[in-house]
Each structure stands twice: as C-alpha cells, then as structure tokens.
C-alpha cells in the first residue's frame, strides 16, 4: 500500500492533494491517512481558502473518481476536533488506534505532509 499521511489542517495550499491525485492518475493507488488536524481534509463542506484558490472540498470529493478508496481518519481525532461523522465525506472511514497500527504496518511506502 502506498500511504499518504496528512498531519496538518488544510490551508490555501492544495499541493499535498495535487501529489495524491497525480499518483492516482498514474495508477499508484494511493491510500490516505489523516492524522491530528489533518482530519479536517475529510470535511465535506471545505471551500476555498482564498478567493482565487482551489476548493479543497472539491478536490477531496474527487477521490472516488480517481479510484482512491482508502481514506482513513482516527475516531479519537474526530472527538478531539469535535467533528461529527456526518460532516465528513461518506468515503472517509473512522478507525481505531488498533486499526491505525495495522494500516501503518501494511504500508509499503509512505509520504508525509
């Protein structure tokens, strides 16, 4: 599994997502792990951070179109950041700490932002 880890909250810079989508386009089948404030990437209602910027929410909503199927975030982070599951994209899976360990162990390569 090629695992991209996003650990910081989204900003106007969409370059981490651009790399993920590019790798998906090249059929590298990226999986995504959102940790800490990175869970906010999974919020379905994210818009633009600047008037002429890209909508982060539109980029993330395109994940299924790129066959990106594995998007994970921690249940504990959802509680910490007071994010209800209903606020997240339906394709984001909330996982336990034990499941996190298995995901990290199964990753062949990781790229972190």
């Amino acid at each position: 599994m090629n695992l991209f880890i996003l650990k910081k909250a989204p900003t106007s810079d969409a370059e981490a997502l651009e790399m993920i989508l590019a790798c998906a386009a090249f059929e590298q089948q990226p999986s995504i792990l959102l940790l800490g404030s990175g869970i906010q990437f999974a919020k379905a209602d994210l818009g633009k951070f600047k008037s002429d910027g890209k909508s982060i929410g539109k980029l993330t909503s395109a994940f299924p179109m790129y066959d990106i199927e594995n998007i994970f975030a921690l249940e504990s982070d959802a509680q910490t950041y007071k994010i209800d599951k209903q606020e997240l994209h339906s394709f984001c899976k909330l996982i336990s700490t034990e499941e996190l360990k298995k995901i990290l162990q199964s990753a062949d390569k990781t790229i972190s932002f």
């Binding site: 370059e15 590019a22 790798c23 590298q28 990226p30 390569k109 990781t110 790229i111 932002f113």
Partner: protein, 132 residues
C-alpha cells in the same frame, strides 16, 4: 551476510530558509550512499523548490543551500528534481519556462524541472521514500 542494495527516493517539502530540513536531508542522503545504497532522486516540492535558485547570496562564511546537493549531483549523478508546477508558482524558472513566460531563468544548472510522474515512478520503483 550481504545487505541488499536499496533504492531510495527523497522528497523535501520545506524551504531551505525556514529550518534545517535541507541539511538533515542532505546528511541522510550522504549516510544512505555511505551505506552502499542507491538514491534514485531527490525531489523538491512546495517551498523546497527555493533550494534550486541559482543566484543566492549567502551570508558571509555560509555556503548556499544548494551546495550539499551540488556535491551529490557532481559525485554521484543523483537527479535533483524540482516540481515544475510548484516552481512556476514560486517564480523559479528554467530556460524553457522562462522563455515561455517571457521572464528571466533562475534555476541552478544542477537542478531540473520535472512533473509529478517522478513521484509515481518513485512509488513504483524505489524501495524506500523518505520525506523531509
């Protein structure tokens, strides 16, 4: 017991001016090579593209940030790849892009502008990818 030669790709995302990631990555790259492994590429992404500027005037007594990478290129012919989209956003141009956009080129000669296909290649071919 022989150790398998591993192929590494190294991705750097931080500006060379903000913290020591560039230095750490260069030290790591040197250690990888000293251990007998291979580095397939160094890929400069986001603000790390500023490492590839050619006309940096460093403070007296300090070497430019590109110095570490020039040595790796010179001694080991490791590709120093700069994401073209991120570079253009930040005003870093090679001769071709400078001509296209009618501006001056400022990319150090040891670096090359490339696309994200190189990261796909790294995922496909390298044994390890390390991000700084």
């Amino acid at each position: 017991m022989t150790t398998k030669n591993l192929h590494y790709s190294i991705i750097i995302t931080q500006s060379p001016h903000n913290d020591e990631n560039n230095e750490t990555a260069a030290a790591f790259a040197a250690a990888v090579l000293d251990s007998g492994h291979t580095i397939d590429r160094i890929f400069f992404y986001q603000d790390a593209v500023f490492t590839a500027l050619k006309d940096i005037t460093s403070p007296q007594g300090q070497l430019p940030h590109s110095h570490h990478w020039e040595a790796l290129k010179s001694n080991h012919n490791i590709p120093l790849q700069v994401c073209i989209a991120n570079a253009l956003r930040r005003g870093v141009y090679d001769a071709t892009e400078a001509s296209r956009y009618d501006t001056a080129f400022n990319l150090h000669e040891d670096f090359e502008l490339t696309g994200l296909g190189e990261i796909a290649e790294a995922l496909s071919q390298s044994d390890r990818i390390i991000t700084f």
